[in-house]
Symmetry: D2
Subunit: 294 residues, 4 copies
Amino acid sequence: MNLKCDVQYGKADMGFRLTRVGVTGVRKPIIVKRKGVNNELNRALNCNIDIFVDLPAEQKGSHMSRNVAVLTDVVLESISKPVAGLETVAADMCKRLLVHHEYAEVTGVYITTNYFKPSVTPNGRETYEVYKLIAKATAVRGEGVRKTIGAEVIGMTACPCAQQTVTEIMECGGGTPVISHNQRNICTVTVTTGEDEEIEADTLIDLVEASFSSPTYELLKREDEGMVVINAHKNPKFVEDVVRGVLKRIVESYPDLSDDAEIMVRSESEESIHKHNAFAQREATMGELKEEAE
Amino acid sequence: MNLKCDVQYGKADMGFRLTRVGVTGVRKPIIVKRKGVNNELNRALNCNIDIFVDLPAEQKGSHMSRNVAVLTDVVLESISKPVAGLETVAADMCKRLLVHHEYAEVTGVYITTNYFKPSVTPNGRETYEVYKLIAKATAVRGEGVRKTIGAEVIGMTACPCAQQTVTEIMECGGGTPVISHNQRNICTVTVTTGEDEEIEADTLIDLVEASFSSPTYELLKREDEGMVVINAHKNPKFVEDVVRGVLKRIVESYPDLSDDAEIMVRSESEESIHKHNAFAQREATMGELKEEAE
Amino acid sequence: MNLKCDVQYGKADMGFRLTRVGVTGVRKPIIVKRKGVNNELNRALNCNIDIFVDLPAEQKGSHMSRNVAVLTDVVLESISKPVAGLETVAADMCKRLLVHHEYAEVTGVYITTNYFKPSVTPNGRETYEVYKLIAKATAVRGEGVRKTIGAEVIGMTACPCAQQTVTEIMECGGGTPVISHNQRNICTVTVTTGEDEEIEADTLIDLVEASFSSPTYELLKREDEGMVVINAHKNPKFVEDVVRGVLKRIVESYPDLSDDAEIMVRSESEESIHKHNAFAQREATMGELKEEAE
Amino acid sequence: MNLKCDVQYGKADMGFRLTRVGVTGVRKPIIVKRKGVNNELNRALNCNIDIFVDLPAEQKGSHMSRNVAVLTDVVLESISKPVAGLETVAADMCKRLLVHHEYAEVTGVYITTNYFKPSVTPNGRETYEVYKLIAKATAVRGEGVRKTIGAEVIGMTACPCAQQTVTEIMECGGGTPVISHNQRNICTVTVTTGEDEEIEADTLIDLVEASFSSPTYELLKREDEGMVVINAHKNPKFVEDVVRGVLKRIVESYPDLSDDAEIMVRSESEESIHKHNAFAQREATMGELKEEAE
């Protein structure tokens, strides 16, 4: 049967442009190239994907099924040719979406997934930690693609202020670290660049873990656990310190990154002494950060 | 005891400004003025509140507890003098935060809450429906306050495209509405204005409900249920149509709203024929919308 | 119009009894009697409600709208006559459901809500803390009603094991408490009894808060914060200790509670040193607990 | 360093047995054997895992790190020897936990993961759909292991009652299906058996999809979409019908399953005409179901 009509192409009753039209929450595995050990465990990332294009005022509907068709092509191709990174997949999809939605001026893709990476505890025990990856891209017809790679990392912060207050109240101090409240901290970092600049998600994860009071680990035997606690209390951090630590390490690690690269860092602390969270956040261009760091 | 030191005022090790520092997920009841029946049921809104200020590069930490102290004052004052609206509370808090954080240039408050409002089914049965309210404000020192009021409304959409496809496949049509897929749709609208302009959340909810294929109801006896289904199928809507319908009604309902008012409308459809959602969104100023509507 | 047919009463094609049929996620405010200060802030609880009845094998469908009709009656009645407790509402609803679903043998209601309660910090500052209330009831035709009241309470635990490990590693000890990891802990307690026994949710919340390393507070000035940290480290607790502490306090506080009362206590710790949680749980009758406590 | 003490083995202050002590929310990839096409895409399942053992009254703490150590062994072994199914992994872990927790009488493991499976639309288009797998096991010392396999499947239901009501109101009927409300339905089925009985998750998914008004698909071109809508309206189903349909298909598909196998089926419908959900559920042994089916 040849279904001839196409409601979506009909004239819209009401002449408003739409900024974004598309699908959210599509689940798909995408196969990525991985280096090193445990390759098998982490090749096919279980992704959650949002896809959108803009829609001109004079068109009634967007062709939603084309978004999923483009995604399906990319997934099947990744079987024979694993992708280099999720932000590359997102950028590639954005360009294909411009072809398939001939009326669109802007296209966008947003991908998140769990991700596992080998790590080592303070006492040298090998573990395998979980992170969340964030990959995005946006294409503007005639202007090229911007892509984003990022990670959400769980770590630990011990509070410097409570530590000082306890020192004063108890008149303690000296050789051993003083007690404080400590808690789970979730730090998210994203870096947005042009298509030709490369940022490794693994590097971003390392920068974030170095900025906590201590990284955390799934498997800690007793001495490991003791060392994590000692390290964290020798290295107390506010949420503000975590964000600034990541910013500093980004400036130091990427001296050649374009000034127009956009950086977002957010640290949220699930305060052990409160029922609510504390957070700090910075959005800036690389140019601004370089200037402030001088 | 007079605890003299104050770690937060210490010099930051790393000279980066922070865009936002504060607390998230604070829960508090706030008492609002309500008109009409069932006043008792809905006076104290159970709110979820985020509060932030910016932080200059040279200061180590923000004073988090001042955020909660300002909130606590506002809550206690609402007992004797119920507030006019949550966006007014947010704006008021932003101004107080500028006083209590003397180093801050920008302050912000974000409030969400469930909210109940009387409604009437197609057959005239009175019901009491649940909505989510969204209220925000931002203050910039020396520049005044912008405030946002909005609502998240659940309704129903029936798909125009599937209805036409079925008509062609079955060669049906004529007097009775043709089958289609229909589903729960969540439409969110927010309007951001200066401090002196007033938008009623109840009006926004009404505009959104008029833009669905049909509003939905908690309690439907059989005839009511039949009429909701018939109305929805006589009035099929894409997510795009829902957004444009709300935009059109906003332009018509607020002819005197400033051109710099910012409007956001988003419709997300939990597609019955897919495991993922469809969505459409527009962000625009009132000036842009007025121009497009001509 | 008189819609005569009723599909639900039709004969089921397939002869299986159903254990539970009903609605989930209905939102309604219910007005409860409150004692003491800040009454205004917390009278109308914003409830999430699930309702179900069983269904005999020979009947095709349950009458879902009757569940919401019974709930609506209860809500409206609470305006003129505030209810004594949510578990009383649930029990009342279960009995009405048996009348309205004449074919049902079992009826059940499950209510949760946020709830605010005055509290006092270690230094005497008044605060207002948030808790989650849990209320349930089940009725069996000809056998009466069982009702459940409970609370989900957020507090803080400091780990005894890490504290001892650090003591050994650093050869510290003596006057001041030794560092450990500490974190947010969520402890849930429920007590199920016959209709004539009364348990106050406020009492359960107090028992749980006394069983943490320390309660937590929304608003802590510096000395308060220091005292919370010191108290927690003088009082280290495993998740196991929290559960056993609550069980012990229940046995001590309710010497006259029936042996067939059912107790559930669960403590879940959002470990600061891990990305995953630790938990401990006990389900027992009051009779079993009394015997073990001897 | 030889850390000699072990707080966990200390005598508990309060003599209560604990039903369950362990960890929740551990994330790990586990490699499973897969048959057929697209093998690469779905080998390493991204699992969320809870692990627990009971704890006798006289022991202060459980050895939490042993739970994660057992899991880590199983994950690493799956690289060289992919596991047959997640419920087999869970059963294997339960037996190892009895060895590592020599004081435990009961051990339990609960695993969930997203899972992708090829499917075909009404018009023959190949798609790849997402499901949630549920795997559990419990071991009792000296009594053996019970294991559970199940799936959470998203489909579509069209309401038979609204369809009949509309027929009466509009006096329609005849050749073409009449309109109704339809919506996303989430149906969960689990089967618990002894260690020697085998149930395929793929079979359970097929049984559930056959019990909806229609399965749903990620990628539908226009004719496919029309056929899904037509099929759903020719096949209207209450949540009760979905549960009974799955029960009937289980009885027919597993004539040799032990009478003591435990079956749970739950269908939850995200009603398009309401803001709340409808649900139906049955828990029964295979013996009870066989008897009722006669």
